[in-house]
Structure formats: structure tokens, C-alpha cells
């Protein structure tokens, strides 16, 4: 079953065509890789899915519903979560509170409901678990400004997970992690995926992409240039020329 269908999405920023008629489907329970050169439009595509970017053309269809007219928060409420490539923690609160807040999504959906509730104990517990899951529990009480980049990247993931997403959009979550840390986090994704979270993963770390994503979509210059089994795509001459360069991927 397709949980998410992108129909001929085009996005323009002023004179720049960031995406040109990109179509794509995401199946229930899939872990899809999204790769492509710098500036290909990967981030823009995920931002279009969550609604931060409005497509100039095309539709975003979630489980058969056209969600294109919906606002960002309404889409988030329907189970889409995004981790930002350029990290965006709430800098005025602790790392833990960043995640606690996200974990309280059921209470914050409605203003009156939010006004009516105070207890945070459940959410705090859940948040601690998630920080542990991504391996930054030791920073729980720190301010995000004091965190190294790798930890902030993982905070993005923990916060997105706290909203109990059905579709998790991951924008280069492994960047800034060394190979061991990256592998560990990638394993976490696999486990969550097995638990039923559908995922899209943007990564330039092709080793990990090849390891955990059975299928990839390749963008270049705002257009889809390939889609298929990861192994095939990584050896596709067009992909190699545009993206990987001379060396053959060490997948």
C-alpha cells in the first residue's frame, strides 16, 4: 500500500527551478533512500512533503488524501515528522525539554487541551528513553548551544521520533557522525523501521544507504533521474557520473 504519493511536484524559488515535476511513491513500512548531488532538490522535496515549501505544481497525497492544501502542523498531526539538515533545536530550553515537548504532541494539538493539562512525567520518561536511543542522554540537561554538532543531529532525530510519526523524513541525520556512530544510528533506524515507521532517508553516506535502504530515488538538478534497487542505482552510469564521481561506490 502506498502511504505517500508525490504527483508531479514542481518548486520554484524566484528564478530557480528547485524541483521539476518529480513524482514518487512511498510504500507502507518502507525505508526509502533519497540521494542525489548537492542542490539536487532533496531537502526541498522533503520540505514539500511536510509543507514548509509550497509546490508551484503537483500534489502531495497521504494515504489517498490530498494534503497539499494543509498547513505544516496539520500534516505533522497526520504523522509526518522531519529532521532538519541544518539543525534547529529550541535554543531557549534544555535538550530534554526539546524532546519532552515533542512527546506531548497529543496534549498540544488543541489549545484548550494544552491549557487543561500540566503533567509532564510520562513525556519526560519517554523523552529520556529517546535520548538514550540516539545516544545523547548525557546531554539531557544541557542547553543545545553547548552541544557538539553530532549530538544536535541526533537531537533532531530524537525530537522527530517523539511525535510518534508514521512517516519519518530524515535529512542527512548521519552527517557529522563518525563511521561507528553512524552505523549505530543507522541500526536504530532499521529497528524503528521494523517496528512500522515508514522512512525516507537523505544521505550522502552511501555506505549506510546501501546497507539499510533496499530502494532509492535519485534526484539531479530538480529532476528524478532514477529509482530502483539501491545496488542497481549506485552502479547506474548516469548516477555515477552526476553524483558519485570517478570512484565506484564502496557499497
Amino acid at each position: 500500500m502506498n502511504v505517500l504519493t508525490l504527483e508531479a511536484i514542481s518548486v520554484r524559488f524566484g528564478g530557480i527551478a528547485a524541483l521539476t515535476s518529480v513524482g514518487m511513491t512511498l510504500k507502507q513500512g518502507e525505508l526509502l533512500g533519497l540521494i542525489g548531488p548537492n542542490g539536487a532538490g532533496k531537502t526541498t522535496l522533503l520540505r514539500t512533503v511536510i509543507g514548509v515549501v509550497r509546490p508551484t505544481q503537483g500534489r502531495v497525497v497521504l494515504r489517498g488524501d490530498d494534503v497539499t492544501p494543509l498547513s505544516v502542523d496539520m500534516r505533522a498531526r497526520r504523522g509526518i515528522a522531519l529532521t532538519h539538515q541544518i539543525v534547529k533545536p529550541f535554543r531557549s530550553m534544555t535538550v530534554l525539554d526539546n524532546v519532552v515537548f515533542a512527546a506531548g504532541h497529543a496534549k498540544t494539538g488543541n489549545v484548550l487541551r494544552a491549557l487543561g493539562t500540566r503533567s509532564r512525567s510520562e513525556e519526560t520518561q519517554r523523552a529520556r528513553q529517546l535520548l538514550e536511543l540516539v545516544g545523547i542522554d548525557r546531554y539531557a540537561d544541557a542547553n543545545p548551544n553547548a552541544l557538539p554538532l553530532g549530538a544536535l543531529k541526533r537531537l533532531e532525530v530524537a525530537r522527530a521520533l517523539a511525535t510518534d510519526p508514521k512517516i519519518l523524513l530524515l535529512d542527512e541525520p548521519l552527517a557529522g557522525l563518525n563511521h561507528i556512530e553512524a552505523e549505530r544510528l543507522a541500526d536504530t533506524f532499521v529497528r524503528l523501521n521494523a517496528d512500522g515507521v515508514t522512512m525516507v532517508l537523505i544521505e550522502h553516506n552511501l555506505g549506510q544507504v546501501a546497507r539499510i535502504c533496499p530502494r532509492v530515488v535519485v534526484l539531479d538538478n530538480g529532476k528524478k533521474i532514477g529509482e530502483g534497487a539501491t545496488r542497481d542505482m549506485l552502479s547506474d552510469p548516469a548516477v555515477v557520473a552526476a553524483y558519485i564521481g570517478k570512484e565506484v561506490a564502496h557499497a
Binding site: 511536510i50 514548509v52 498547513s71 505544516v72 502542523d73 496539520m74 505533522a76 498531526r77 515528522a81 522531519l82 532538519h84 541544518i86 539543525v87 534547529k88 529550541f90 535554543r91 531557549s92 530550553m93 525539554d97 515537548f101 515533542a102 506531548g104 504532541h105 496534549k107 498540544t108 494539538g109 489549545v111 487541551r113 494544552a114 491549557l115 487543561g116 493539562t117 500540566r118 509532564r120 542547553n143 548551544n145 553547548a146 525530537r159 511525535t163
Partner: protein, 295 residues
């Protein structure tokens, strides 16, 4: 508890109460939800004028209070809608503009007394003690409400909107609803404060709700420490009574007020709340604002 109070003390208590209410109401919008407003006096004024008009129609004081709040938050809702379009400093200046437009509008409205003001506001009929009682009760109620909101998930949501509304949205927060709530609650309370003021002075002129008033309310919030409820209360009381206490140095009192604002901000940028925070050793060091660390 009141028989020992003279008329002078009563009038001071009322003025202080009005200012505390105003400061707390702005604290909900600016302190908790991060929407800096330089035009809060407009909502105060709308409440005051509404109270005067209603009072003249024979509506009793205790009924006028919530009605004035409602009228205040009608305008608040409008400005709240504007806050969905413009952000940060643009919003601050927009609200400042709302303040000027309000005063400019009232100045030309004959049914609101225009420049001559409204001077026939009826007596509240509660007597001094009763009126002071109402004022204090309002202050306590507003303080408790503020404290409750701050601890609730609503307050938590406000904090994220204040921090980064775009990110907040991606976590499923209906930012518009949160901002509007802050504006509606804050301006409702400002309207109530306006009604209290109207029944206190029983004379309204447009000039009493000008830019200077908006600034002094904001100063109370920031000197108190943005978002801190007790800090804002202390600052509102202190800044209101300060000129009263330094009447001795008559000619210099506003000068001193200005200098104190500068010194407070210079020596304790976090306001009173920040100062106390620094003094209590347990507190971890404040992280520096990351100047554009992340694009």
C-alpha cells in the same frame, strides 16, 4: 484589613494594581509567547473607553469588567491576526502603529469625547474598600492564571513559538492558534485593567493611552525578567512606586527613572528574575546567545 488605609494609599494600591495587571497581561503575549508588543496601551485604552461607554449606559461595574475585557480582546484578536503575517521587530513596530492609530482615532471621535475626553463615568458603587478588594482580587487571579498557563502545556507551546515558530510548526503546533490565544488572553486582561482605570480616574483622555504608556508597560515586563511572573509583578510595583518615592527629588525623578532602566539592563540583562537567578549559586551558567552560529 482596609480601615487603616487612607485615600492616598487606596489610590496608590489601585494604580499599582492596574499596572501589575497590565504588565502581567503583556507578559503573556511578550514574555510567554515571545510576541513583542509596543502598543499594549491600545488594548488598555479600548477597555477603558468601553467601560466608560458601558458604565454610562447603566451597566454595573462588575459586569462592565468582563465586557471591557471582551472589547479589548476583540481588538487583540485583530492584532493577533496581524501577528500571523509579520514577525519579530516588524510585529513590534506594527503594534506600535496600532497604538498610534488607536489614539489618533479616538482623538477625532466625538462620541468618545474626542480631545475633551470622557468625564462622566459613574461611580463604581463599591466604596473604597470594595474597589481595592476587587483590584487586589483581580491581581491575584491574573497572577495565578499566568503562573498556571506558564506551567501548562499551553505555556510550553508558547515557549516553543517564542523560540522558533517554524520548527514548532513541524512538530504539529498550530502556531496561529497559540499566538491568537496569547493575544486574546493578554488583551482581555488589558481590557479589564482599562476598565479598572476608567472607574478609578473617572476621566479618560486619549493622551492617557499613548506610546509612553506602552513603553512603560513593556519596561515592567523586561525589567522584571521576560516570562517571570513574580519578577514582572515586583518590577511593575517598583516602577510604579518609584516616582512616588522619589517625589522628594522632584525635578530629577524621571531622569532617575531613565537612568535606572539603563542600569538595570546593563547590570542585570535578565531583569530581576535573572538577577536572582545569578545570585542563587545552584544555577548553571547562562549560555551565550549563539550569534548566527547556525545559518
Amino acid at each position: 484589613m482596609l480601615p487603616t488605609l487612607g485615600a492616598y494609599e487606596v489610590s496608590l494600591i489601585v494604580i499599582v494594581s492596574v499596572n501589575v495587571m497590565l504588565a502581567l497581561s503583556l507578559n503573556i503575549i511578550t514574555g510567554l509567547c515571545g510576541q513583542v508588543s509596543l502598543g499594549h496601551a491600545a488594548f488598555f485604552g479600548v477597555g477603558a473607553y468601553a467601560a466608560a461607554v458601558l458604565g454610562n449606559l447603566g451597566v454595573p461595574f462588575l459586569v462592565v469588567l468582563p465586557l471591557a475585557g471582551l472589547v479589548g480582546c476583540l481588538l487583540g484578536l485583530l492584532v493577533g491576526l496581524a501577528s500571523l503575517r509579520v514577525r519579530a521587530d516588524f510585529l513590534a513596530i506594527t503594534t506600535m502603529g496600532v497604538g498610534f492609530v488607536f489614539v489618533g482615532f479616538v482623538r477625532k471621535q466625538n462620541w468618545l469625547g474626542a480631545e475633551m475626553g470622557l468625564s462622566n463615568i459613574p461611580d463604581h458603587g463599591l466604596g473604597d474598600a470594595g474597589f481595592v478588594g476587587v483590584c487586589l482580587a483581580l491581581v491575584v487571579a491574573i497572577a495565578l492564571l499566568s503562573a498556571y498557563i506558564k506551567r501548562s502545556w499551553l505555556g510550553f507551546g508558547f515557549a516553543t513559538v517564542a523560540d522558533d515558530e517554524d520548527t514548532s510548526r513541524t512538530l504539529g503546533i498550530d502556531v496561529a492558534a497559540y499566538k491568537l490565544t496569547a493575544f486574546v488572553v493578554g488583551t482581555f486582561l488589558a481590557g479589564v485593567a482599562g476598565a479598572t482605570y476608567a472607574y478609578f480616574t473617572r476621566f479618560l483622555i486619549p493622551g492617557a493611552f499613548g506610546f509612553g504608556v506602552s513603553i512603560s508597560i513593556l519596561a515592567m515586563v523586561i525589567v522584571g525578567g521576560v516570562g517571570s511572573i513574580w519578577g514582572v509583578i515586583v518590577a511593575a510595583v517598583a516602577l510604579t512606586l518609584l516616582p512616588e518615592f522619589i517625589r522628594v527629588v522632584n525635578d530629577y525623578k524621571i531622569f532617575i527613572y531613565g537612568v535606572l532602566l539603563v542600569l538595570t539592563m546593563r547590570l542585570s540583562p535578565g531583569g530581576l528574575a535573572g538577577l536572582v537567578g545569578q545570585l542563587s549559586a545552584s544555577r548553571a551558567e547562562m549560555p551565550p546567545r549563539s550569534a548566527g552560529a547556525q545559518p
